[in-house]
């Protein structure tokens, strides 16, 4: 009985989809824009800033534009590759999907952007096909364009942000332990790793933790490697990654960090909260708004933060908008991509309201000099100055399409080692198992560990 009902429902569903498909094809520009994202960060920025937005549905899953077009948001979490999995499934069906079901725009992160901009798989439309010219995006940081430029010289995505990293610290703890919360003083106390650990010892003596957990320092090490993760089918573990392992183990044993197992967890959020004893976090500009702010809004720690340069430069993340091959809304996409990544007014709003390091070099340089610019979270400190030099020096030369998997599996495998459950060799073996499981083609090669 149940099965018969299912088959009946399927038949009805099939009829329904046929009907809607026919209606949609009659239109010039599609009535529905499907956007794949992994959280509501960009969705909120879009709803708040895109001038054509009229209203949103109650559950926020649909944004209505003024011309009646509906923007449908399809959200799948990034963790464990779920977002990529769902996106891949939809991309495979893209050719057969009805116009309203086709993906029009999707977002990618630096860790796996290369997988999607590959011209051979051809799912990312070059921006030139949308009619976006080099002049339109002249103000953007060059690295954000180079990162998504393919061998044929085409740019296949646009970003609204630059993501150099910085050290975000608590003013109250700095005052108590270092005697001052001034970014210059604190910056000098963490100017390199030696000084950073001198300060860390002081923090420990005063009963504080220098940082939250090993995942916080991970990017600082993984961005300063000498080669990409994968060479052919071989996974090459950089010596600097083993430096991270050694240092993290030492810090965990010495109580320099708070032994938090990962990021985006409840524990990590609590470490950013008002009752925490953790001194600093390694974050890019978007971290101010996305990570710290939600944990301290309306508490004593709401303005207890300041930023200074990290002991070693790094970047984290970066989100690119990619127009999907097969879209029926090229005109809308051109406008959305240009407005959201190259419109100076909107980018200024993102910087002022969201603490974003916007992808507009002259604007950022102007804001860096501006005495009026500052955000409440940092007690009015102008953080752009700290970042603008670092932003100009970012290079994504050492990324590979496998970075998200390598990053997650490396941290997972060695997490057990830091927790004292397994020894180093078992952790290495577990990493090899996990990475070969996740990327079957890499099982054809080996994992090379530094001497």
């Amino acid at each position: 009985m149940k099965k018969r009902m299912v088959s009946l429902a399927l038949c009805l569903g099939l009829l329904g989809s046929l009907g809607s498909g026919m209606v949609a094809q009659a239109e010039e520009e599609g009535k529905v824009i499907n956007i794949y994202v992994w959280n509501d960060e960009w969705q909120n920025k879009f709803n708040a800033n895109y001038p054509e937005v009229d209203s949103t549905s109650k559950d926020k899953s649909v944004t209505y534009l003024k011309d009646g077009t509906e923007v449908h948001w399809i959200i799948n979490p990034n963790q464990d590759g779920v977002y990529q999995q769902k996106l891949d499934e939809a991309l495979v069906k893209q050719a057969d999907a009805s116009a309203d079901e086709k993906i029009d725009l999707f977002l990618v992160e630096a860790d796996y952007a290369l997988k999607y901009i590959d011209p051979d798989v051809d799912v990312a439309m070059p921006i030139s096909e949308l009619g976006i010219t080099a002049d339109d995006i002249a103000n953007q940081y060059k690295y954000t364009q180079e990162a998504v430029t393919t061998a044929d010289g085409e740019i296949r995505g646009l970003s609204y942000q630059a993501t150099p990293g910085m050290l975000v610290y608590r003013r109250s703890i700095a005052k108590e332990v270092l005697g001052s919360d001034d970014p210059e003083t604190v910056g000098a106390a963490v100017a390199d790793w030696d000084k950073f650990y001198e300060t860390a010892d002081k923090m420990k003596e005063a009963g504080y933790y220098m940082y939250s957990g090993r995942a916080d320092t991970y990017r600082v090490y993984s961005n300063n490697v000498s080669a990409p993760w994968v060479d052919g089918f071989d996974v090459v573990v950089d010596p600097n990654m083993m430096n991270w392992v050694d240092r993290s183990m030492e810090d965990t044993e010495n109580g320099i960090n708070h032994k938090v197992g990962g990021q985006w967890t409840d524990e990590w959020n609590k470490d950013m909260g008002p009752d925490s004893k953790v001194f600093c976090f390694f974050l890019p500009a978007w971290g101010l708004d996305v990570c710290i702010k939600p944990n301290v809004t309306d508490t004593d720690a709401a303005e207890d933060w300041a930023v200074c340069p990290s002991p070693q430069s790094f970047y984290w993340g970066g989100t690119w908008l990619i127009a999907c091959r097969g879209t029926d809304n090229p005109e809308h996409l051109k406008d959305i991509m240009l407005k959201m990544t190259a419109d100076t007014d909107i980018l200024r709003n993102l910087a002022v309201n969201n603490g974003e390091m916007s992808n507009d070099q002259p604007l950022m340089e102007e804001l860096a000099e501006s005495p009026d610019f500052g955000i409440d979270l940092l007690s009015g400190q102008n953080y752009i100055g700290v970042l603008s030099e670092a932003a100009a020096n970012i290079s994504l030369a050492n990324v590979s399409p496998y970075d998200q998997g390598c990053t997650e599996e490396f941290q997972n495998a060695f997490g057990d080692y830091f927790n004292g459950v397994i020894d180093l060799d078992t952790a290495k073996a577990n990493f090899e198992t996990a990475i070969h499981e996740r990327y079957p083609e890499l099982a054809m090669g080996t994992v090379k560990w530094p001497e």
Partner: protein, 318 residues
Amino acid sequence: MKKHKGVSYAKWGYIFILPFFLTYAIFSLIPLVDTIRNSFYTYFYSGLKVVGPTWAGLGNYKELLSADLPKYAWNTFVMWILGFVPQICVALLLAAWFTDARFKIRGKQFFKVVIYLPNLIMASAFAMLFFALFSNTGPVNNILVSTGVVGEAIRFMESTLGARSLVALMNFLMWFGNSTIMLMAAIMGINPSVFEAAELDGCTQSQKFFKITLPQIRPLLTYTLITSLIGGLQMFDVPQILTNGQGAPDRTTMTLIMFLNKHLQAKNYGMAGALSVYLFVISAVLCFFVFKMNTDSDPDGSKAAAKRAKRAKKGGLA
């Protein structure tokens, strides 16, 4: 010869059962055959590009055996048995109490509903709840630390024993109610006059339980054991959610289905197919036993009696 012209209703029978066989073929049989076919090929996605399918023979099967398959089978078994032993013990105890006419427990229906309730919660939601409860800064640790039971928070999910015990505890909580109700039905099927007679002869409670109840419900106990074993073989949602799909720590809570899921996530259809075939074979063997038990080919015991007689005859001749 006169041809008999009757109305054949048989074809309507076939037409009416056709939808089932059609849906079964489309949604079960074809995928099943496809899975078995895939298991002999090297066939996966590298990014968005397809690799294969190329013939690999039994390569996938061999690789799985030489890799970690036995380890994950062991993990699954350990977590199942850790949950099953308390589950069956508690269920037996509760079933015996609830069915005993002497106890006159009030609100029996209420308790039956309450112990069954955890089974109604979605396993993933249940696992999320436990993940929050037993996290390093969660309520359980808060209570333990603030009452001074432990000095520092217990990091449950970071030790093998802790993580496995949590999974077992959840499985136990979810399924003991179900077993209780099944066993109650079995016990109530025993003729009450047997108990009465035993009581008249001065039988104690424990004698009653071990000498009458247990032997009488043995077939149902075996059934519970095997269905639970099949269920345990498919254990997936609880450890998956509790460990974020990692089977942490040191892959000791990685079950067979989580392992299968890893291959499916990697779009490694060949390897996932081979693993599925292994699981299919094990499940089939277990199902065979259930089937054997449920289809009684000797309802009145005459066949067994004949056998015994035959054997006795043989013995007598020799």
